[in-house]
Amino acid sequence: MNRYEHHLALAAARRPEHAAIVHAGGRTSYAALDAAASRFADGLVEHAGFANGERCVVFLDNRVETAIAIFGTLRAGGVFSVVNATTKADKLAFVLNNCEAAVLLTQASLAPVAFAAAARAPSVRKVVVVDDPPAAAPDAAMSWDDFGNVAAPGCAAARPAGVDIDLAMLVYTSGSTGNPKGVMMTHKNIEHAATSITTYLEAREDDVVLSVLPLSFDYGLYQLLMCVKMGATLVLEKSFAFPQKVLPLLASERVTGFPLVPTMAALIVQIRNFDPTWAKSVRYITNTAAALPPAHILKLQEIFPNAKVFSMYGMTESKRCTWLPPEQLARRPDSVGIAIPGTEVWVADDEGRPVPAGTVGELVVRGGHVMQGYWRNEEATAQALRPGRYPWEKVLHTGDLFRMDEEGFLYFVGRKDDILKSRGEKVSPKEVENVLYALPGVREAALVGVPDPVMGHALKAIVVRDDEGLDARAILAHCRAHLEEFMVPRTVEFRDALPKTSTGKIRRSVLQAEAEGRPLPEDEVAA
């Protein structure tokens, strides 16, 4: 029943000297994080006249100040939104205006983008710059140090912050059409999701989690939120571009939890000199964002012999939907499992009713982790949230197609609009891509459908290869050996790279639009 920032005060009281965050060679204790969050909250009140419920947009890399601002904003009774540091000015301006942000927090290296966006967002009263603000700063700009310097320390804590049904954060997510949408989560929503996830991960206060995932991405953000809830340590890095820099931290910090996305897994499994001592302390690995190819799951298990591998599925709108108990992985490597603890999911027909095992339908989610809607976007909200069992309840229609096996385990089939039709048969690009990934030499793969008067969609595999010797004939032969005939691509195209989202998902929709010769969906251009 407490607001989420309460966890920080509890951890600081329980283990003040324990490291909350390890970043760039420095360690921030719980006591220090707690004190800094209070200073930031005071700064919001004193320097920005921040009112209860106002929004603070955090436009920073993964760094300690990002965590301070998240908890500081909550402590001031506000709502935070972390925006990816690679966002360009147009999109940032959209977000600032959409949520009517009162305060924008940024860093010197991002200041030009931040200032350009803030100039177009009249609601923004202060732009706080970590590191020294550049000379050409607008009047609204203020340095981090000045911001934390207040005449009346404790002014934020002196006023009521609110209750757990208050809005805590907005997570902007790209919509299938148009502009990004702000997913609204209350303190209670976060508590529900964090409790459920820490339950199945069996999270402990002596955990050390290494995360390179951006804090703007809910998967990255929850690493921080859950560590603080447990009083555990977060080793925060901002990139996995140089795995040789990051992986040794697993050993030196005795990391126990290592969250991955598929592109990271793809990098890890192909490292030739992986030092087994790196993997020793890791007791769990998680994956979400997109399913791991079964070949990569097997390899990860080999590299991390002491780790349980959790395949999970989720979407920002309910944080996490399903998890596969690790002991099921050998039996059903392609399943994303069952509903997370304290929630329900089912595969539904067009009317929202459960369908029998084996039938493909839309996944529907029910529980305390389901968002309150999209910020000031009633139309999109009504699409995603539909009436539930009780008059007060809404259930989440994910737009993702699943099937369930006889024992109740779920399989991701594809995005509702991803499905291709080849010779009248439904083809899930995911399924074909998994087969492509199992072929040594394939680094990345995407399946698209080229419109064809006879076939419906003529399937084309777009492949990034590690091995130049791998030719189209070998790929097609491999597909023929592993797929039903109608799923076998007609053609193969080789590329140097595939387009990706900022979270590392391959943007199939961009490639599909290209194959159909139609303009890119608007949000894909902006993304």
């Binding site: 996995f240 571009a241 040789q244 990345e444």
Partner: protein, 86 residues
């Protein structure tokens, strides 16, 4: 020497155009958002193909691959090691 740097510079600006501005040779390409983790892999593959040496896993570090100057120095060192200076 200048030739190696030019080849590398041309590869970076054509493969990773970023926001279109010409990167300074000491610019941190990751910090500037010009290359990401997949970009690093693309760069490694290209170096191996173009210069004919192997990039060892333990060489994939910011000091070797993080800037045009760093990549140039690394490539020249590897070429010198293999005795086929460009």
């Amino acid at each position: 020497m200048a030739a190696t740097q030019e080849i590398i510079h041309d590869f970076i600006v054509t493969t990773f155009p970023g926001d279109g501005t010409d990167p300074d040779q000491d610019l941190d390409l990751l910090e500037a958002g010009i290359i990401d983790s997949i970009g690093v892999l693309t760069l490694v593959t290209w170096l191996e193909e173009t210069f004919g040496f192997m990039v060892d896993d333990e060489d994939v570090l910011p000091e070797n691959l993080g800037s045009i100057a760093g990549i140039t120095a690394y490539a020249e060192r590897k070429l010198a090691e293999s005795g086929s200076a460009a």
